[in-house]
C-alpha cells in the first residue's frame, strides 16, 4: 500500500497538482491577509468567490474573451467587498454579520442571476468552450528542463499570478506608504487617526484589494479549475483560506506556506484515494488532519523559541 502511494507521490504530476490545488486557496487567503492587516475581518470570501466565479464565466461568455471575464470578476469582487465595507464601516453593522450575509446571499442569489442572464438554473457547463477558459502557459526554457519543467511550467496564468501576488502583497504591506498605513490602522486605529490617517479610507482600500484577490480566486475556480460554474463551486475553499491566513500568522509568506500545506494534503488525499481498500470518507479528513499536525508542530516550535529566550534572560 505504502509502496503504491510513494510511487504516485514521487511523480511530477503530484507536485504539479499541489500548485493547482493551492492557487484558489492562496488567492482567498491573501485576501484575508490584507483585510486582516487593516483590522477588518472579511469572512465573506467564500460568497464573493462564488459570485465572482459566476460573473467571470458570464463576462467571458458574452465577450468570448477570458481576459475580460477575469477583469469582470475582479470588478464584481471589488464591488462586493466595498459593499461589506459600506455596511460595516458606514452603517456600523457587525462586519462578521455583513460577511455572513454575503455568503448566504451568494448561495441563492447566484442561481437567480444565472437564470436571469442565461435561462440556465443548474450550472454553466453548456456555455463553456476552451477559448474562454483561462489559458495555461509553457514557460520557454524552463519547460524543456526535465522534472522542473514538468512541475513548474504549464500552469494556468492565474496560478503564476497567485504566487507572484504573495511577493507583491508583501511589498505592498512592508515597502509602500499605503502598506504602512494599512498596518497602522490594523494595529491601532486611534493612533493612526491621531497622525492624520483616514481610517475608513484605508479600510475601504484594504477591502477593495481583498475583493480583487477574491475575484481572481473565483475566476480561477470557474474559468480554469472546474471549467464551469455551479452553486457548490467554491466548496469551502474560502473558509479553508481563513484558516490558512490564521495559520500563516497573517503574513503573506507564512500564509503561502500554510496554503501550500493544505494543497499538499489535498493532493495526497487524491492519490491515496486510488489505493485499494481505502475509505473515501476516512481520507476526506486528511487536509484537516494535516492542518492540526501542522499547528501542533508550529506551536511546539514557538514554545521552544520562547523557552530559549527565557533561558537567555536568566
Amino acid at each position: 500500500m505504502f509502496e503504491q502511494i510513494i510511487t504516485m507521490v514521487f511523480q511530477t504530476d503530484f507536485a504539479f497538482s499541489i500548485f493547482r490545488i493551492t492557487a484558489p486557496i492562496l488567492f482567498a487567503a491573501l485576501a484575508a491577509v490584507v483585510a486582516e492587516k487593516a483590522g477588518v475581518v472579511n469572512i465573506g470570501l467564500e460568497g464573493i468567490m462564488l459570485i465572482c466565479g459566476l460573473f467571470g464565466t458570464l463576462f467571458s461568455f458574452w465577450t468570448q474573451s477570458w481576459f475580460i471575464g477575469v477583469l469582470g470578476a475582479i470588478v464584481v469582487g471589488i464591488l462586493l467587498a466595498l459593499m461589506i465595507g459600506f455596511f460595516a464601516l458606514k452603517l456600523h453593522t457587525d462586519i462578521i454579520l455583513a460577511g455572513i450575509a454575503v455568503n448566504t446571499m451568494s448561495a441563492g442569489g447566484t442561481i437567480f442571476l444565472l437564470y436571469l442572464f442565461t435561462g440556465e438554473r443548474g450550472n454553466t457547463a453548456s456555455l463553456t468552450s476552451s477559448n474562454i477558459l483561462i489559458p495555461t502557459i509553457k514557460i520557454p526554457g524552463l519547460h524543456q528542463i526535465p522534472i522542473l519543467g514538468d512541475i513548474f511550467s504549464g500552469h494556468a496564468v492565474l496560478t503564476y499570478v497567485a504566487f507572484l501576488l504573495v511577493f507583491l502583497i508583501w511589498v505592498l504591506l512592508y515597502k509602500t506608504s499605503i502598506g504602512l498605513q494599512i498596518r497602522a490602522v490594523g494595529e491601532n486605529a486611534h493612533a493612526a487617526e491621531s497622525v492624520g490617517v483616514s481610517v475608513i479610507k484605508i479600510q475601504y482600500i484594504a477591502l477593495a484589494i481583498s475583493g480583487i484577490l477574491c475575484g481572481m480566486g473565483g475566476a480561477f475556480m470557474s474559468m480554469y479549475y472546474s471549467q464551469s460554474w455551479n452553486t457548490g463551486l467554491v466548496a469551502g475553499r474560502g473558509f479553508i483560506a481563513l484558516a490558512a491566513q490564521a495559520m500563516g500568522r497573517g503574513e503573506p509568506v507564512g500564509t503561502m506556506f500554510s496554503s501550500l500545506l493544505f494543497g499538499f494534503a489535498q493532493a495526497l488525499r487524491t492519490k491515496v484515494s486510488g489505493v485499494q481498500g481505502v475509505s473515501s470518507n476516512l481520507i476526506s479528513a486528511m487536509p484537516y488532519l494535516v492542518t492540526i499536525i501542522g499547528l501542533v508542530l508550529y506551536a511546539a516550535s514557538t514554545m521552544k523559541k520562547v523557552k530559549k529566550i527565557k533561558n537567555k534572560d536568566k
Binding site: 448566504t104 443548474g122 453548456s126 468552450s129 471549467q227 457548490g232 476526506s284
Partner: protein
C-alpha cells in the same frame, strides 16, 4: 421612511406567500379520469436531470389530458430547506390533489411525517426507498440503476480494449462516484459486474468525491485515474462533482467520459459533449408516465415499492450521437446485454439488498487497480 419600507417589505412577503400557495388547478373531475397532481421540487428546475425529467413526464401527461399538474420549486440551499416541510404540509392540507409527488433521498423524513398525518392523501416519492411500506398511502418509485450500470460497464469494458481512438493498452476503466452510499454503489455494482462479464481481468478505478458539488475535486480525482492508473474511460456518477470527470478527460485528451441520469451529451458545451460517448439514463418522467398508465388501468401500488427497469422505461442508455460512431461490436454487446436483462437471462446484483452494499464494496476493492 423606515416604517414605509417595513410595511412594503411585509406586504411583499405576504403577497409572495399567497402567490406561493394559491392559484392551483381546482376542478379535476371534468373528464372523469383527470388526476390533480402537485409536483414538489426540492431544488430548482433546470437541473437537466431528475427534476426536469419528472417535469417533462408531467408535461406529457398534461398534454395528453391525463392529469392537471402544478409544480412548486422549493429551492435547494440550506436556507430553503425549512420550506420543504412547510410546503408539504400546505399542499396536503389543501386536499386539492389526487397525488403529491416528491423525490430524492432528501425528502423521505419529511414525507413520512406528513403522510402519517394525512392518511387520505396519496403520495409518490421517486428515487428513494427509505420507508417502503411504512405509510399505506405512499408509493416508493425506485430505478434499477444496477441494470443501467451493467450496460454502461459492458460498454466501458468493451471500449477500453477496442483500440478506439485514445484507448491505451491497459484494461482499466474509471468510476467517479459522489458519495460511498448504497444508491451510488448500486450503479457501481452493476458497472463492475457488466465490465467483468466482458473481460474478467478488467480493473475499475473507483473514487468518491464525498459530495455532489465539488467539480474541481472531481476533476483532481479523474486526473489521477487517467494519469496514475491509465484509465481511458471514466463514468461520472455524482451530479456536478461527476462532471469533473468530463473536464479531466477533455483536458488530458487521453480519455473519454460517460454521463449519468440524463443525456449529458445534449446538455454539455460542444467540447465536453465531444468526449462524452454515452450516458446512463434514469428516466423519472417515463417512470411517472408508466405509473399513471397503471393507475388508470386500476393497478395501484400504495404502500409498496415499484422498481422500474429497462422494460418500464425507467432506465436506459443513450444509443445515438457519439455512441453510434463507436465500433459496431461494442454497440452490439451493449444492446445484447440490454436484451438479456429485459429477458431475465442476466440478473444484475444490487447494492440495495441486504448485505448488497458490502458485497459491492468487496468487489470494488478487488477490482481496484
Amino acid at each position: 421612511m423606515k416604517k414605509l419600507l417595513s410595511l412594503l417589505l411585509a406586504s411583499a412577503l405576504a403577497i409572495s406567500m399567497l402567490a406561493g400557495c394559491g392559484g392551483s388547478a381546482s376542478d379535476g373531475g371534468e373528464k372523469g379520469e383527470v388526476y390533480n397532481v402537485c409536483n414538489l421540487v426540492n431544488g430548482n428546475l433546470g437541473d437537466k436531470s431528475f427534476f426536469d425529467s419528472a417535469k417533462s413526464g408531467l408535461d406529457k401527461l398534461e398534454a395528453d389530458g391525463v392529469i392537471k399538474a402544478k409544480t412548486i420549486e422549493m429551492g435547494a440551499t440550506d436556507a430553503d430547506q425549512p420550506k420543504w416541510l412547510e410546503t408539504l404540509y400546505e399542499v396536503s392540507e389543501s386536499g386539492e390533489y389526487d397525488l403529491i409527488i416528491v423525490g430524492t433521498y432528501q425528502m423521505p423524513d419529511y414525507l413520512k411525517e406528513v403522510a402519517e398525518k394525512y392518511p387520505d392523501q396519496k403520495y409518490l416519492i421517486y428515487d428513494d426507498t427509505t420507508y417502503v411500506g411504512v405509510c399505506p398511502n405512499v408509493v416508493n418509485m425506485s430505478f434499477r440503476q444496477n441494470d443501467l450500470g451493467y450496460m454502461v460497464g459492458v460498454f466501458a469494458a468493451a471500449m477500453t480494449t477496442s483500440g478506439y481512438d485514445k484507448m491505451n493498452d491497459d484494461a482499466v476503466i474509471g468510476f467517479l462516484g459522489g458519495v460511498d452510499s448504497p444508491v451510488i454503489n448500486d450503479f457501481l455494482y452493476g458497472y463492475l459486474a457488466g465490465a467483468q462479464s466482458v473481460n474478467p481481468d478488467v480493473k475499475v478505478d473507483t473514487r468518491y468525491v464525498t459530495n455532489y458539488y465539488d467539480t474541481a475535486y472531481g476533476k483532481e480525482l479523474a486526473l489521477s485515474m487517467i494519469n496514475d492508473k491509465k484509465a481511458d474511460i471514466v463514468w461520472g456518477v455524482g451530479g456536478a462533482a461527476g462532471n469533473g470527470g468530463a473536464e479531466a478527460a477533455q483536458e488530458t485528451g487521453k480519455a473519454w467520459f460517460i454521463g449519468v441520469d440524463s443525456d449529458q451529451e445534449a446538455t454539455f458545451g460542444a467540447e465536453l459533449a465531444a468526449i462524452t460517448l454515452t450516458s446512463g439514463l434514469k428516466n423519472v418522467g417515463d417512470g411517472i408516465c408508466w405509473f399513471f398508465e397503471q393507475w388508470a388501468q386500476g393497478n395501484e401500488f400504495w404502500g409498496q415499492e415499484i422498481n422500474l427497469g429497462i422494460a418500464e422505461g425507467g432506465v436506459g442508455i443513450v444509443t445515438d450521437k457519439n455512441f453510434a460512431s463507436v465500433p459496431q461490436d461494442v454497440q452490439d454487446a451493449v444492446l445484447a446485454a440490454q436484451e438479456a436483462i429485459v429477458a431475465g437471462e442476466i440478473t444484475v446484483p444490487s447494492a440495495l439488498t441486504d448485505g448488497g452494499n458490502d458485497a459491492a464494496r468487496a468487489l470494488r476493492d478487488s477490482m481496484q487497480p
